[in-house]
């Protein structure tokens, strides 16, 4: 890239190009509403990004080209490598990490802005200083919160809720402290204090850690969506600080997207976002449920399962995160193929929070060539359940637990579930009777029409497929 410096920052030409850029983002997202156009939409958005980057490189005042080249080369290489190597099961971690680096970038930009303000000397205008402070705060929370979410999803730290005594009070003190520091900086803005700004970054970092640490694995889809919204908002704040319209619009679009997903996930769990963030899900009730009495279960082998399935007319597969962990999507598809050969109708019932991020299970099944039309959403499949001959639960747990409907004292009471117990028969493929993310016993396992097939999801699905073929 040749330093041309042909565009004036904030000038008409640069602004016009930024408008082209964010229009392409909006068109790209709009195309994402259907699988047949989504891929093209993604490319359109990428073109929009290229326009935005080239425009910025042509601005007057660009410099330090060596450092720009280093940053682009390292970031581009890491991004490209990761995107090629990541397994579809690992998408939640990857998105968490991307949320994190996005927020981190914003926090660093805000820090740099503060230093720039100090170098210029005099009072930093509030219309620049306030968004800079917001960008630093939100960016730092997002960076550290996302790192914790990543570590949880990657099993680097326990996914169970980690409670710190006095959690709420500490969070409140940190939150108020951050705001107070920000106000102090804004009042004494000639020039703003870098020391206090760094304190803000640190306090926000601790807050990000403490907010995400106590959140259990079941709530990860909400956390990831929320951090996605946070990174978007932080970018918009940076846009205000830098007077950059592309940043404002793009950041706001991402913020809207994350907010919508957060609300949808919370609705799917029948809980408020505040409840998810501050309750430390599954911490206390787990101990009660874990000491539960021994109840009888029906255990079957692959051959019995194959017979039940092969002579059914209508089978629904309920996949959960266990399927993803076991990389069983291809084996399950093979089992479905064998059933379809015998004329059995096979559909897939996808709970909104199946997997660890919104829409995760759909991606995994798409990877295994399951047709888009066979993926049924919860509200679509539940009325059908009484007419289903066999429901096969593979690696799903809490989202099938009838206690959510029947037991008002259950920690998951009121959570919408896939009502598999309404089906004539249920086969649960699972390694043991252990609990899911919510840490509670699943009543489904002990119902009379439920059979447990204790095995690894992938091995069991392959075995059942082979048995069906041999029938």
């Amino acid at each position: 890239m040749i330093p041309l410096a042909v565009l004036k920052p904030g000038g008409d030409a640069a602004t016009a190009l930024y408008i082209v850029s964010f229009s392409l983002f909006i068109i790209g997202l709009k195309q994402g509403t259907h699988p047949s156009t989504a891929r093209r939409g993604n490319k359109i958005a990428a073109v929009g990004m290229a326009v935005a980057v080239v425009t910025t490189l042509l601005l007057d005042g660009m410099g330090n080209w060596g450092f720009i080249a280093i940053g682009l080369a390292i970031g581009g290489a890491v991004g490209a490598y990761a995107s090629i190597r990541v397994k579809m099961t690992e998408m939640p971690q990857m998105v968490a990490l991307y949320n994190g680096v996005g927020g981190g970038a914003v926090a660093l930009i805000a820090w740099s802005e503060i230093r720039h303000g100090i170098h210029i000397g005099g009072a930093m205008p509030l219309e620049e200083l306030i968004p800079t402070l917001l960008a630093g705060i939100i960016g730092s929370i997002s960076f550290w919160g996302s790192n914790i979410a990543f570590a949880k999803l990657q099993d680097l730290i326990p996914t169970r809720p980690l409670a710190v005594p006095g959690q709420q009070i500490i969070n409140a003190v940190l939150g108020i402290g951050v705001i107070v520091l920000a106000v102090i900086i804004a009042i004494n803005n000639e020039p703003p204090s870098q020391f206090l700004f760094i304190l803000i970054l640190i306090a926000a970092a601790i807050l990000g850690n403490l907010v995400v640490l106590p959140i259990g694995g079941a709530d990860m889809p909400v956390v990831i969506s929320m951090l996605n919204a946070f990174t978007g908002l932080s970018a918009a704040a940076a846009g205000f600080a830098l007077d950059n319209v592309a940043l404002i619009v793009a950041g706001t679009l991402v913020g809207s997207s994350g907010t919508i997903l957060t609300m949808e996930m919370a609705t799917a769990m029948n809980r408020s976002v505040a409840n998810i963030l501050f309750s430390g899900f599954g911490g206390a009730p787990a101990a009660v449920a874990g000491s539960g009495e021994q109840r009888p279960v029906t255990s079957i082998g692959a051959q019995d399962a194959a017979i039940k399935l092969a002579y059914a007319d209508n089978v629904v597969i309920v996949p959960g995160y266990g399927l993803a962990v076991a990389q069983a999507q291809h084996a399950v598809k093979e089992m479905a193929n064998q059933l379809e050969k015998r004329g059995v109708t096979v559909n897939y019932a996808i709970h909104p929070v199946a997997g660890r991020m919104p829409g995760h299970m759909n991606v995994l099944l798409a990877e295994a060539d399951v047709p888009y039309e066979n993926l049924k959403e919860m509200d679509e499949i539940n009325p059908e359940m009484p007419r289903v001959d066999v429901a096969v639960v593979i690696g799903a747990n809490d989202v099938t637990n009838p206690a959510a409907k029947n037991d008002p004292n259950s920690p998951i009471a009121g959570m919408p579930i896939i009502e598999v117990s309404e089906a004539n028969e249920v086969i649960v493929i699972k390694r043991s009777l252990s609990t899911g993310f919510a840490g509670i016993d699943n009543d489904l396992f002990y119902e009379p029409n439920t059979s447990m097939l204790f095995a690894d999801a992938k091995a069991a699905a392959s075995e059942v497929a082979a048995e069906i073929e041999n029938l």
């Binding site: 935005a52 450092f67 390292i74 930009i109 940076a238």
Partner: protein, 106 residues
């Protein structure tokens, strides 16, 4: 641009964002999220701008890391979204029909 003009743009963008994104089906939520990761890479612009007026070692470092983070978002986000959407796109329709000769599907 005045603060209030920017604020008007911000508010309008919120409405556009809600309008467009609420139409994305659940099935495509993961690709949507990784695509918004990529769009969030727009922060790289901020990294470039602050690097433009960086004056000491710390500022070079901060700016370079910000640019690298943004580039990870852009490159990684768009590529992985493309990879995922490719999986939704490849639908062997004729083959599915052949498999379903026994009265499969609705």
């Amino acid at each position: 641009m005045s603060l209030f003009t920017e604020f008007a743009i911000f508010v309008l963008a919120i409405f556009v964002g809600f309008e467009v994104i609420s139409k994305v089906p659940t099935t495509l939520h993961t690709p949507l999220m990784s695509q918004t990761n990529a769009i969030h890479g727009i922060v790289m612009l901020g990294g470039l701008i602050v690097l433009g007026y960086a004056g000491d070692g710390l500022e070079y470092l901060i700016g370079t890391i910000a640019v690298a983070f943004g580039a990870i978002n852009i490159v990684g986000g768009f590529l992985v979204t493309d990879r995922m959407l490719g999986m939704f796109a490849k639908k062997p329709k004729p083959k599915a029909d052949a498999d379903g000769k026994g009265g499969t599907g609705k």
